[in-house]
């Protein structure tokens, strides 16, 4: 697994590189800003590019712009955007641009297994949404009524589904058989009145769009 890591904070970047190497990933490139990123990635495309959302020069959303560019010009390269704040608005925009993309809070990168899992899922074509972002979306007032109709178990499944996990991953996490997970998913879609989506990414998008609306 080949990674490119982009972050302007040297401390964090080097820590992340070490974590990635511990996890057995091959960090091919590490840079501190997005300026020369496209050239580097084009010259030697990694499997996943890990981007900080705030980077020079304006420290606002340079990472988001870079992520969009990578996704549109090199569809084979996955992108994981790291952020320091919960921003549901931009997450939905990112996810809408297609699969092979992720949004993770930096806080959660400390959970090394979690980070490794996220990178692998993206490389495999899936989507990754930070659990805190999902929690914020699910906890919204206007979703409350609909969410209250779900059972406790269904709510757990919804959370994991919104994070971009596959049925089998959800099953493993909750110690359920794939068939049971499938039944829960169907029930959730029915209660939320969503069109069933077979593709994993489309499923995430449908759920997030519903929650964000």
């Amino acid at each position: 697994m080949r990674l490119t890591i982009v972050d302007d904070s040297t401390l964090f970047r080097e820590g992340l590189v070490r974590v990635a190497r511990d996890l057995g990933f091959d960090v091919v490139t590490q840079v501190s800003d997005a300026q020369s990123l496209m050239e580097l990635i084009r010259a030697d495309p990694p499997d996943v590019a890990v981007l900080d959302i705030r980077m020079p020069p304006t420290y606002t959303t340079e990472g988001l712009a870079a992520a969009r560019e990578v996704r549109s010009s090199l569809p084979s390269v996955g992108v994981l955007v790291l952020s320091q704040y919960v921003d549901t608005h931009h997450v939905l925009e990112l996810i809408s641009s297609g699969g092979r993309i992720g949004y993770l809070l930096k806080d959660h990168v400390g959970d090394i297994a979690e980070f490794g899992d996220a990178v692998r899922r993206i490389a495999a074509g899936g989507s990754v949404i930070d659990p805190d972002v999902v929690a914020e979306l699910v906890g919204r007032r206007r979703n409350r009524e609909a969410i209250e109709e779900l059972t406790e178990r269904e709510r757990e499944v919804l959370h994991l589904m919104a994070q971009g996990r596959t049925n089998s991953a959800i099953g493993a996490r909750l110690h359920l058989s794939p068939k049971t997970v499938e039944a829960h998913v169907r029930s959730i879609f029915m209660k939320l009145q969503l069109e069933p989506a077979d593709d994993d990414h489309r499923r995430v998008l449908a759920v997030l769009t519903y929650l964000h609306a």
């Binding site: 401390l11 704040y85 400390g110 090394i112």
Partner: protein, 713 residues
């Protein structure tokens, strides 16, 4: 073109009016060849050279027909139903027909008798059409918008119709001699006697009435248009002034030209009266043919192009001076001459005396006349005392440059009768033109080197406005071309300037206060952003890196089965600290406000509110940063307040554009009774600092309504 007169010209154009115009023009021009070959029949006038006769009797009418046809074509092609257009068309056609038939009659009856048929009939038609004053009267009554403005106008139009009919009928009874332009007034016309008798019988003896009607026709028309000018507003007033001016000149010549009319004048046998009358007739013919049509054309097409006021005031001035010189000269040379019995010849001493008196009196008389002319044209001016007291009164109640300076400029212009008055304000090391009357767009600036007032461009007189030695601004006026700044006006400007000093100092203080408040709020926002950035990129980043290291350590410890549990607990605590830090940073300055704009920022605010909130944001463009920040904090504080105190069941938030600003409204259905303490007071300051207004209405038991307007320029 003609915007004032016909504001709603539609694109649909009709062709036939131009055909009508062409017909009139062609008819008038068709008389030209006859004129040329019959030139020998022209007789020089009693006093004027023959070229003047030709100008008055031939070229003038042709010119008038061409101009009026053009106007009729222009108006009717855009408004086929326009009564004014039809009146112009009728005048053009009647004048053209008169010319053609009369020249035809001259050819048939005088130049080459018997060469053409129906010469009598042509002469008759020419006489009648020449008498048809009804269209002329109607055109004057209808000008400039094609409507009769009141019952008086309808009555006058009716009277004109009756008079026209009367003149035609009475002329039926007196076919001899038939006067034709430029020739001696005898044409051998024969018409059916029955018609004469009938006309004569019907008309009785209206000669005197018609004579008076004829005498008063032009002055009445001029008076009517003047009356209408006084009532009119805006563009219409400008248009009417042109016609009024032309008609006033015409009326004077017209009446002079009638002083040998035996129907109305006791001096008709006097030779001098006949000479003067002839000049008057020539003058009125010239003005009717040239000046009136030209004035109407200018009024319709280009009424803003020339300064009619200046033209009128100069006309009054020069005609007044001419009258003065003539009277003085005639009075001295002939009056005193006949008294001392010097005979009819010119006495050189008296002539010299007259010249000397005229020369000495000229300047004072000129100034007096000029004042009278200006007063007549520009109306009453405010006296300097009025101007000063009005300004002092106004300055006491308003404290904004938006208000005071334009008022000052207007007052200054009214008081001096200047063409333009300006008020300049010093801002730092620059002098800026803050107000001009009448208003005009550009606001030029001039750099200042010291406390002296530099020359202001395109002004006749300027005075500095000072507070102690400090230059605060300037007042300046520009007079009309040919008008000078008088000593009284200079004095007024000085007095106004010293009053303005106080006002400008106040204004400057208020302006500075507002600017400093704005700076404070901006600095506060900057500071919040800086803190937020420091938290995110400093402490938070460091902690994140630490969590990373800890995570690695735990993974390593778990692998080697040492201290894993302890590390996991430490890591969990660190994560909690991180989450708190993140929320703290977010609260200090919402990142989403910068990256996503007002609407997503407000939506995330609403999402976090414990109360149900309905939000409506309708903005086309992103407002400026400061306005966004103010709007965000207003909604944020209002929602926090509602959540804490209102016990409301729903809150409505709306953010819309209102004019050039943002309108923010937060309304809840709670218990009301909110006071302006703490947070809400802070909001009021914040709103005021960006030039906005915040109002809170919170009656007990009836909910709270917070409304803020923030300008966005």
């Amino acid at each position: 073109m003609a915007t004032g007169m016909m504001p709603s010209l539609r694109a649909t154009r009709v062709v036939w009016p131009w055909g009508l115009a062409l017909l009139a023009s062609a008819t008038a021009l068709a008389s030209a060849p006859l004129l040329v070959i019959d030139w020998p029949t022209f007789k020089p006038g009693r006093i004027e050279p023959i070229w003047l006769t030709a100008l008055v009797d031939v070229i003038g009418p042709i010119f008038a027909v061409l101009v009026l046809s053009l106007l009729a074509g222009f108006i009717l092609s855009r408004r086929p139903g326009s009564a004014l257009g039809w009146a112009f068309a009728a005048i053009a056609l009647l004048v053209a027909l008169t010319m053609l038939t009369q020249e035809y009659a001259v050819r048939a009856l005088v130049a080459a008798p018997g060469s053409l048929p129906a010469g009598d009939l042509a002469a008759w038609i020419g006489t009648w059409t020449g008498l048809a004053i009804f269209p002329q009267a109607l055109a004057i009554l209808l000008f400039p918008d094609g409507r009769l403005p009141g019952p008086a106008w309808w009555a006058l139009a009716g009277l004109a119709a009756v008079l026209t009919a009367g003149m035609i009928v009475s002329s039926l009874g007196d076919p001899w001699p038939l006067r034709l332009p430029g020739r001696d007034g005898s044409l051998p016309v024969t018409m059916p006697p029955s018609l004469w008798a009938y006309g004569f019988a019907m008309a009785g003896d209206p000669e005197t009435v018609l004579g008076w009607a004829n005498l008063l026709f032009a002055p009445a028309a001029a008076a009517l248009v003047l009356l209408r000018t006084r009532r009119a507003q805006g563009d219409e007033r400008f248009q009417l002034r042109w016609l009024a001016f032309a008609l006033a000149i015409t009326a004077v010549f017209w009446m002079v030209g009638r002083i040998d009319d035996d129907r109305v004048s006791p001096w008709s046998a006097d030779l001098a009266a006949q000479v003067i009358a002839r000049w008057g007739q020539l003058g009125s013919s010239l003005t009717i043919s040239f000046v009136v049509p030209a004035a109407i054309a200018v009024a319709i097409f280009k009424y803003r192009l020339f300064d009619i006021d200046l033209v009128i005031s100069r006309t009054i001035l020069f005609s007044g001076l001419a009258t003065f010189i003539t009277l003085a000269y005639v009075g001295i040379v002939f009056g005193i001459g006949s008294f001392i019995g010097a005979g009819a010849g010119l006495n050189p001493i008296l002539a010299l005396l007259a010249t000397a008196i005229v020369a000495v009196a000229f300047q004072p008389v000129r100034e007096g006349m000029s004042r009278v002319a200006n007063r007549l044209v520009y109306g009453e001016r405010r006296t300097p005392y009025e101007a000063l007291s009005r300004f002092a009164g106004q300055a006491a109640i308003s404290y904004s440059t938006v208000d005071v300076l334009p008022r000052l400029a207007r007052l200054l212009r009214e008081a001096t009768g200047a063409e333009r008055a300006e008020a300049w304000l010093r801002i730092g090391a620059e002098l800026r033109r803050e107000a001009v009357d009448p208003e005009s767009a550009p606001t030029p600036t001039i750099g200042l080197k010291d406390e002296r007032l530099p020359p202001l461009p395109d002004t006749d007189h300027s005075v500095p406005v000072r507070d102690e030695q400090t230059l605060l601004g300037a007042l300046a006026i520009t007079k009309r071309r040919g008008d000078r700044v008088t000593a009284a006006e200079i004095k007024l400007l000085d007095d106004l300037a010293s009053q303005t000093g106080l006002v400008l100092r106040n204004l400057r203080l208020v302006e500075e206060l507002r600017a400093s408040r704005e700076r404070i709020v901006r600095a506060q926002d900057e500071e919040r952003r800086r803190v937020e950035r420091n938290l995110h990129d400093g402490a938070q980043q460091r902690l994140v890196a630490l969590a990373l290291t800890l995570g690695r350590a735990r993974a390593e410890a778990e692998r080697t089965n040492q201290a894993g549990e302890f590390l996991a607990a430490t890591e969990a605590e660190l994560r909690t600290a991180l989450a708190e830090l993140r929320q703290l940073a977010q609260g200090i300055h919402p990142t989403i406000l910068v990256t996503g704009g007002l609407e997503p920022a407000l939506r995330s605010l609403v999402d976090r509110s414990p109360l149900p909130v309905a939000i409506r944001v309708s903005l086309v463009r992103r407002p400026p940063e400061q306005a966004e920040a103010a709007a965000y904090y207003i909604v944020s504080e209002a929602l926090a307040n509602a959540a804490k105190h209102s016990r409301a069941s729903t809150v409505n938030v709306s953010v819309t554009r209102s004019g050039s600003g943002l309108l923010i409204e937060v309304r809840d259905d709670g218990v009301g009774g909110a006071t302006k303490g703490g947070g809400l007071q802070g909001l009021e300051d914040r709103t005021a600092a960006v030039g906005g207004k915040l109002s809170i209405s919170s009656p007990m038991g009836a909910g709270t309504h917070i409304r803020a307007e923030i300008p966005c320029d």
